[in-house]
């Protein structure tokens, strides 16, 4: 009887230890996300300081929060035509973009912004104000055609991956450098003050986003479209200063907080799609921001109090709000003893 009990006990130990060891290293459930597109996704400009790119860039925040394998193959400056070229290439050595696309569970794309924003934004906005849409629409027709080809190519490479695209946020505020001197002079003559720049900027941004929306309407099952423009705009309407703080100092890229808002908005959708777990992601996100507080702001922020607030938060966006309000105006200490 004793022997049987001991054997049973040892078998139990064996089973439990094996399960623990297996669960400790099991990778079978980990999803792989691959980021494609432009500088918004590449996040070389945006994260501040640059050494925090892997904790501020939304590609990394989503990767870490959800415990995904995450690979960023986006390229600063790229337009739709160049993204099409990148995904049409065979693997280039160990960079293996084609292989990563083929093996991804989620393909996340930020594109189309540069198709217009690398040109004279002010002139295009003035054209649209004057109901002259030819120049902009010619560009966007090509963009639409490229997007059709991009999605077709991605679906050919990986028919089962969830393809997520995002709308482009409106980066135009009163001090935006996207409106040059001659644009500002023209607008002043027309009686349009700098406080109205954001509104007229929407003429261009919305027209650009309409291309993505048109694709989604025409091919509803091909992509999931996340409305980052709306997320930024909602914040801007509620709190103009916070809205402006979502934009980096070059008036183009998302700031640290802008990246966080993109991550939070995407996170919500990933959870709705069943590709992410709310509880796990929230826990990981709280850890991420708490670690950053300790690493970067231990001299300037009441870490204990802020971490307590973060611990109580119910959503990633709440954590974002607490973290960025706490560090507002504080300089991070990112190199010991050198930038205090």
């Amino acid at each position: 009887m004793k022997k049987k009990a001991i054997c049973l006990l040892l078998c139990l130990i064996l089973a439990v230890s094996s399960t623990l060891v297996f669960s400790g290293c099991s990778n079978s459930e980990k999803l792989q996300i691959v980021y494609l597109g432009d500088s918004i996704a590449e996040a070389l400009l945006g994260p501040s300081p640059i050494v925090e790119r892997d904790r501020y860039g939304y590609f990394a925040v989503l990767g870490k929060d959800n415990d995904y394998y995450f690979y960023n193959r986006s390229v600063s400056g790229h337009q739709t035509a160049q993204l099409l070229e990148v995904i049409s290439r065979d693997d280039q050595g160990a960079q293996r973009t084609a292989t990563l696309i083929k093996t991804a569970d989620i393909l996340h794309i930020s594109i189309i912004g540069n198709d217009l924003l690398q040109r004279n934004v002010g002139e295009m906005v003035i054209d649209l104000m004057n109901e002259d849409t030819e120049y902009v629409d010619n560009i966007l027709d090509t963009s639409y055609s490229n997007i059709c080809k991009i999605i077709a190519k991605l679906k050919e490479l990986n028919p089962t991956a969830t393809i997520i695209m995002q709308t482009v946020y409106n980066p135009i505020y009163a001090d935006s450098t996207l409106f040059n001197k001659s644009t500002r002079e023209y607008l002043t003559q027309e009686g349009i003050g700098s406080d109205q720049y954001r509104e007229i900027g929407k003429l261009l941004i919305n027209r650009m986003n309409d291309v993505l929306k048109k694709y989604k309407e025409n091919y509803p099952n091909d992509i999931d479209l996340i409305d980052i423009n709306k997320a930024f705009d909602d914040i801007s309407v509620a709190d103009a200063t916070r809205g402006e703080n979502l934009i980096y100092s070059d008036w183009v890229h998302p700031s640290n907080e802008g990246h966080a808002v993109i991550a939070d908005t995407t996170q919500t959708r990933l959870e709705e799609l069943g590709l992410a777990d709310h509880k796990k992601a929230l826990k990981n996100y709280k850890t991420l921001r708490s670690e950053q507080l300790e690493d970067l702001f231990s001299d300037s922020v009441d870490i204990k109090a802020v971490k307590k607030q973060i611990k109580k938060a119910d959503s990633c966006s709440e954590v974002t709000n607490i973290y960025f309000r706490a560090i507002d105006g504080k300089t991070p200490v990112y190199i010991e003893g050198e930038n205090k």
């Binding site: 990148v86 693997d91 050595g93 160990a94 930038n339």
Partner: protein, 243 residues
Amino acid sequence: MKNKNKIISLILVLVCVLSVCLLSSCEKDSSKYYVEEDSRYSFDLLKSTVMDVPFVFALNSTESFVQLNSDKTIQISVMANNGITAKIKDFIDINAALDGINIERDFNAYAPELIPGASLDDLDTTAKLLCSSLDITLTGLGFANEQTEELSKILKKEIPFPDDYKIPDDLGFKYNGTYYIEDVQTDSGIVKGVYIGDHDSDSDSFLIMTLYEEKKGENTIQKLMFRVEFLQLYVRMTKTEIK
């Protein structure tokens, strides 16, 4: 009693062995490896380009290299060609080239964000922050007070770029960091990736190089290449002797 002990011991050993086997099979670093002996790769200057322009005139061919070491460290050395001043003067009128660029505005839009604390008024600190951020050392740039004040004024366009400027012969930068090699599956088979610097264990490096071999007659030449897409930078290197 002895039998019972034997059974217990046997099962405990089994548990330990199984655990070790399973743990080692999921060890993340198991596929990473390093060069067995220090290996230097020199730039193929004609085949390396930035924005389609070959490096040949810009870099010193013997002092520019990537060295992979057996102690898991990597050195990247990029040094300007000794005669670069004359070549630049032949091709570019610096003051004309700078004419349409608002350096101060662009510097202020990017530098203090990328490296908080950076300022055109304090280039010494800015250089130190840059070096610490990127794990690099700059060579050939002395930051003595008079020089930095003059450079600061030039960048702010308070004074023109001097006609008698001379780029220091040892101008360049060196990166010292860590690397690992991992065999990865691509659509053309397994390739050797060289991953530079720290990164999240569920992701990969910003800078990834590829080790490969080329046949030249009966010889096999060791090659290293990498590309940085946003800079349109394509670098090809060949293994050379360490001097």
